[in-house]
C-alpha cells in the first residue's frame, strides 16, 4: 500500500530558513543545509523548499553559520541536493522554462509553480511534457475570506484570482500539473489546524495527489487532513521546527493511530 507522506516544508528567505505567519511575518530560524541534514537524519519522506524571498537577493548575511554565505539560490540547492537522498521539491519565483531547467539541473526532483502557472498555464504543460507531470507541482494558495468563501491568491497572497478554487485546480490538472501543494494563507503559522473544508473540496475535485499545508499545531491535525481533507500527503513547517524530534514523533503518532505511514525507525 502506498504510504501517506508526511512532508516538512521549509521557507527560504534571503538564503535563510524562516518561520512564516499569514504570508506576512517572517522570522529567521536556521540554515537551509543544516535543516536538510536534520531531516535527512530523521528519514523524512520528502522535502519541499519554497523560496519566498521578495527582493531577489540571497545571502545568509551572517558569518556565524556552519556554512559559508551563499548569494545564489542555485548554489544552496546544489549543496542541499548533494546529500539529500529523498525526493526534493523546490519552488518560488519560477517564471520560465529556463528557471525550471536550472532548478532540475541543480538537483530538484520537482518544481512548485504558483503565480506563473496562473499567468502562463502553457508553462505548466511544457514542464509536464519535458519532465513528466510528477515533476510539475502546482502551488495553490487559498484564503478563507471574512464572508466564509474561499479564494485563490497568487503573488504570495497579494493578488486574488477570480475563479472558483475547484475550477482553477481542475484547469491546472488538465494543463499538466501532477500534484497540488495546497496552502492556506489564513492558517499559515496559526497552529489552528488545517482548513479541511477547502482541502477536501480540492482533493475531491481532482484525481492528482493533493498535499495539505498550513495550520498544523499538533499531530492530531495531520489526521484531520487525511480523514476529513482527503489529502494524499500532509505537510507542515513550524510544527517541525520548534519541537525536539518532532518529525519522528509525528510519524509514531500516526502509525500508532493506525495510519499507513512509512516508519523506518526501530522504535
Amino acid at each position: 500500500m502506498l504510504k501517506t507522506r508526511v512532508i516538512p516544508v521549509l521557507y527560504l528567505m534571503n538564503g535563510l530558513i524562516v518561520r512564516s505567519e499569514g504570508f506576512r511575518e517572517f522570522k529567521a530560524i536556521g540554515n537551509p543545509i543544516a535543516e536538510m541534514e536534520r531531516y535527512g537524519d530523521w528519514l523524512a519522506d520528502e522535502l519541499v523548499y519554497l523560496d519566498i524571498t521578495r527582493d531577489g537577493e540571497h545571502d545568509f548575511g551572517r558569518d556565524d553559520h556552519k556554512f559559508k554565505g551563499e548569494r545564489d539560490i542555485l548554489s544552496i540547492l546544489r549543496q542541499i541536493a548533494a546529500s539529500c537522498f529523498m525526493p526534493l521539491a523546490f519552488g518560488g519565483r519560477i517564471r520560465s522554462m529556463e528557471d525550471v531547467d536550472r532548478f532540475i539541473r541543480n538537483g530538484a526532483d520537482k518544481v512548485v509553480i504558483c503565480s506563473q502557472a496562473f499567468r502562463d498555464p502553457a508553462l505548466v504543460t511544457a514542464v509536464a511534457e519535458k519532465y513528466g507531470a510528477q515533476a510539475m507541482v502546482l502551488g495553490l494558495d487559498v484564503k478563507r475570506e471574512e464572508d466564509g468563501t474561499h479564494r485563490v491568491y497568487v503573488d504570495q497572497g497579494r493578488t486574488p484570482v477570480d475563479e472558483a478554487p475547484e475550477t482553477y485546480a481542475k484547469r491546472m490538472e488538465a494543463a499538466g500539473a501532477g500534484e497540488i501543494l495546497l496552502n492556506s494563507i489564513d492558517r499559515d503559522g496559526a497552529a489552528e489546524g488545517y482548513d479541511t473544508e477547502i482541502i477536501r473540496r480540492i482533493a475531491d475535485a481532482v484525481s492528482i495527489p493533493v498535499v495539505a499545508c498550513g495550520g498544523v499545531g499538533d499531530f492530531s491535525d495531520f489526521r484531520e487532513g487525511i480523514d476529513e481533507g482527503h489529502a494524499s500527503a500532509v505537510a507542515a513547517g513550524n510544527v517541525f521546527h520548534f519541537t525536539e524530534a518532532s518529525y519522528k514523533r509525528a510519524k509514531r503518532y500516526l502509525r500508532d493511530k493506525g495510519y499507513g505511514v512509512r516508519f523506518p525507525y526501530t522504535n
Binding site: K3, L43, A82, F85, M86, P209, F263
Partner: protein
C-alpha cells in the same frame, strides 16, 4: 568503477551522489566507447519510454549497452531504465525496448475510481525471490516510486520484488546479470542506499 549512463535521459547526478555517499567509485559515462571501461553499469531513466529509447539509440549507446550486457557484467536499470529492459513499451504507441527481460510495459491498471495515478510516493517491496540486489533488507523495505507505466514480465521467474498499488506491480527484476528497480534507490534513503551498495558489491 561503476559507470552511470549519461545520455540525457536520467538524473545522473543523484545516482552519483548516492554512490559517493557509500564510498564507491562511480562516474558518469558520456560516450558509448567509455562504457567498456566500467565494471558495472547503471542506466537511470526519467521521462517517457519512447523518448528515453530514442535518446539511447541516437546517442549510439544502444550497441555499447548490448555489448556490456553480453559480457556478463552487472547491469542495473532504474525507473524507466528498468522499463527499457523489456521487449516493448506502450507509452505513446509501441516502441521496442532493449529486450533483456521478456515482457511489455503497460499503463498501471486503474482498478478503482479513486486510485491515484501516477503511483507516487513510498511503498513496500515484497520480495518475490532471493537476489543479491535486495539482500539484507529487513524490516522497513519502503522505497520511493514515481511511475504511471509498469513492466509486466512474461516470466514470473524474472520478478525479484512486487509492490501493491491497486494491483500487484513489478518493483524489481533479476535475470542473470541484468537487474532492474522501478523505484528510485537514489531517493529512497537507507533502503535505496543499501540496494545500490548491494549492486556495487555484486561479483563481476
Amino acid at each position: 568503477m561503476i559507470g552511470v549512463v549519461s545520455c540525457g535521459i536520467g538524473n545522473v547526478q543523484s545516482v552519483l551522489n548516492a554512490f559517493a555517499r557509500l564510498g564507491h567509485d562511480a562516474r558518469a559515462i558520456e560516450t558509448p566507447e567509455a562504457l567498456g571501461d566500467a565494471e558495472r553499469v547503471v542506466l537511470p531513466g526519467v521521462g517517457a519510454f519512447p523518448s528515453c529509447m530514442n535518446r539511447l539509440n541516437e546517442s549510439g549507446f544502444r550497441a555499447a549497452v548490448d555489448r556490456f550486457v553480453k559480457s556478463g557484467r552487472p547491469f542495473l536499470g532504474v525507473c524507466v531504465g528498468m522499463q527499457m529492459l523489456a521487449d516493448i513499451g506502450t507509452e505513446f504507441g509501441e516502441t521496442s525496448g532493449l529486450g533483456y527481460i521478456p515482457g511489455r510495459v503497460e499503463v498501471i491498471p486503474k482498478t478503482s475510481p479513486d486510485l491515484r495515478i501516477p503511483h507516487m510516493g513510498w511503498n513496500d517491496l515484497s520480495i518475490a525471490k532471493p537476489t543479491p540486489l535486495l539482500a539484507g533488507l529487513d524490516g522497513d523495505t519502503a522505497c520511493y516510486f514515481v511511475h504511471s507505466f509498469s513492466l509486466v514480465c512474461k516470466n514470473e521467474s524474472d520478478v525479484a520484488a512486487w509492490t501493491e498499488h491497486g494491483s500487484r506491480l513489478v518493483a524489481a527484476v533479476a535475470r542473470g546479470n541484468v537487474f532492474g528497480l522501478q523505484a528510485h534507490p537514489e531517493k529512497s534513503q537507507n533502503v535505496g542506499l543499501k540496494i545500490l551498495d548491494n549492486f556495487a558489491k555484486l561479483p563481476c
